[in-house]
């Protein structure tokens, strides 16, 4: 089957972000950008399916500014076959991203779309579920294991109480959790090869998607700061302070 993977360009997870002084957003100038870690897991899962003979072609899709090309190149260097960049400078909400992805799915007709469970910048945790709704497909969210048999898939999900396994019809949507796999690094020869792989460029207008915002960000502020406390002498001192000073035990 054909597998579509969504790859989002986000601030690298190691970057300590700063809120802009005028409270209009987060300062993204000169910070390192990377592929959303959950999307690396999504690409890796698709690659393993291809290696196992379940997937024939892997297409990496990113939506956003021109530089999202770099994120697609990373996916291609890991082993994806081709890329699609839907280019826009507008701030998109997950609903818009899902609508754009749906238009791409309508054109490409994949049997599976893999997305991250959440992007580590906006932490929305919505896009995959929305895409499933718009397509009328089943959704296997927060997946830690996927197995295919008889034209269906068993997806094991990380839920609050532990693990849950569902059988889903194909085509389907999967969103990745941290323990689905450990993504590979791209090797140098593969990085070179990736430069020749095709990336198709479109715009939301080409796909007929209206991206007018539904949400307005009025303000982005620093969270309340926690002051560092005291270093205690020993365990007895700790227990004494918890009982008599903090009153929590």
């Amino acid at each position: 089957m054909k597998v579509l993977v969504a790859v989002k360009r986000v601030v690298d997870y190691n970057v300590k972000i700063r809120v802009k002084a005028d409270q209009t957003g987060v300062d993204l100038s000169n910070v390192k950008m990377s592929m959303n870690p959950f999307d690396e897991i999504a690409v890796e899962e698709a690659l393993r399916m291809k290696e196992a003979g379940t997937a024939e072609e892997i297409i990496a899709v990113s939506i956003g500014v021109q530089q999202c090309q770099e994120t697609i190149r990373t996916a291609l260097a890991m082993g994806a076959d081709r890329g699609i960049l839907v280019k826009t400078d507008d701030a998109l909400e997950p609903l818009h991203v899902a609508k754009i992805m749906k238009a791409v799915v309508d054109e490409e007709q994949p049997g599976l779309v893999i997305l991250g469970k959440q992007a580590i910048d906006d932490d929305c945790n919505q896009t995959g579920q929305m895409l499933a709704a718009l397509l009328g497909w089943p959704q296997g969210t927060f997946a830690s294991k996927i197995e295919f048999s008889d034209g269906k898939a068993n997806v094991t999900r990380e839920v609050d109480g532990g693990l849950q396994t569902l059988t889903l019809n194909l085509p389907m949507i999967v969103t990745t959790d941290l323990r689905l796999n450990e993504p590979r690094y791209a090797s140098l020869p593969n990085i070179m090869k990736a430069k020749k792989k095709p990336i198709d460029e479109k715009t939301p207008e080409d796909l007929g998607i209206d991206t007018a915002p539904r949400l307005t960000t009025l303000k982005v502020a620093e969270p309340p700061k926690r002051e560092a406390g005291v270093i205690v002498e020993d365990v007895a001192d700790l227990v004494n302070k918890l009982r008599n000073e903090a009153g929590v035990i």
Binding site: I17, Q118, D123, P138, Q139, V220, P223, L242
Partner: protein
Amino acid sequence: MSVLVIAEHDNAELKPATLAAVTAATAMGGDVDVLVVGSGCAAVGAAAANVAGVAKVLVADAPEYAYMLAEPVADLVVPLARNYAAVMAVANTVGKNFMPRVAALLDVSQISEISEIVGPDTFIRPIYAGNAMATVQSSDAIKVITIRPTGFEKAAAEGGSASVENLPAAGDPGLSSFVGEELSKSERPELTAAKIIISGGRGMQSGENFPIIEAVADQLGAAVGASRAAVDAGFVPNDYQVGQTGKVVAPELYIAVGISGAIQHLAGMKDSKVIVAINKDEEAPIFQVADYGLVADLFKAVPELEEELKKLPPA
């Protein structure tokens, strides 16, 4: 204008996080109705009717809702949502799963994991692992919202007298089915409801060492949590993970043992009232948020802590 709150429960009991959602819904103004979706969940409907401030309880009780699969649940909620100004659920793994599906079917942008209500269309939510707080205003006719229960006081579980109405099921679209589950069994309180949590990190070295933490937990009536590193290494199951991509907790007391304090971990616990860190590295970033820090080898300090707690007279 009224708000529909979708209850969190296990078909037997209404979970306290629902009470936080009722408070959030009340803050938006207007009537608050509660929807109980499940299988064999009549007792939950009755409990919801007792919650102070609830006007009406709707109960959809059918086998296809036993495991809260997103596809049938969304099909049930979408037509109901059209009668409300807002629908609200708790941002646990159930709410996170079906609510965006509801939002997309309504052609609405969901507002995820809000921690504060500014007005009927304006909300505050953490972004970038809680390192920034965004105030967002929605122009959608129906607001689809998930809440962080730690951000809201709990409504009183008693004192209400709502009417209870049974709803017909909306059917199962047959896209997905339940196969099985592996749930962690524990006598200890649930992480998201516990007053005290003790969590272990990579410093624990192996799952075999977690009993020293459990012994302290038992002295304190605490829940046990973990960092991602401890879960990834297989020391404890996935549902122990606290953090940006795990559970968000805000207990009275959080004790971090052998955890360095990465931003992704802090995102899940930095709103705790009192934080204790036990770490042998005095430079560990966890000490920057800890009210009480103990620089020590955990393999010595944690058993000592258990002994000291045993000696402690009842409060």
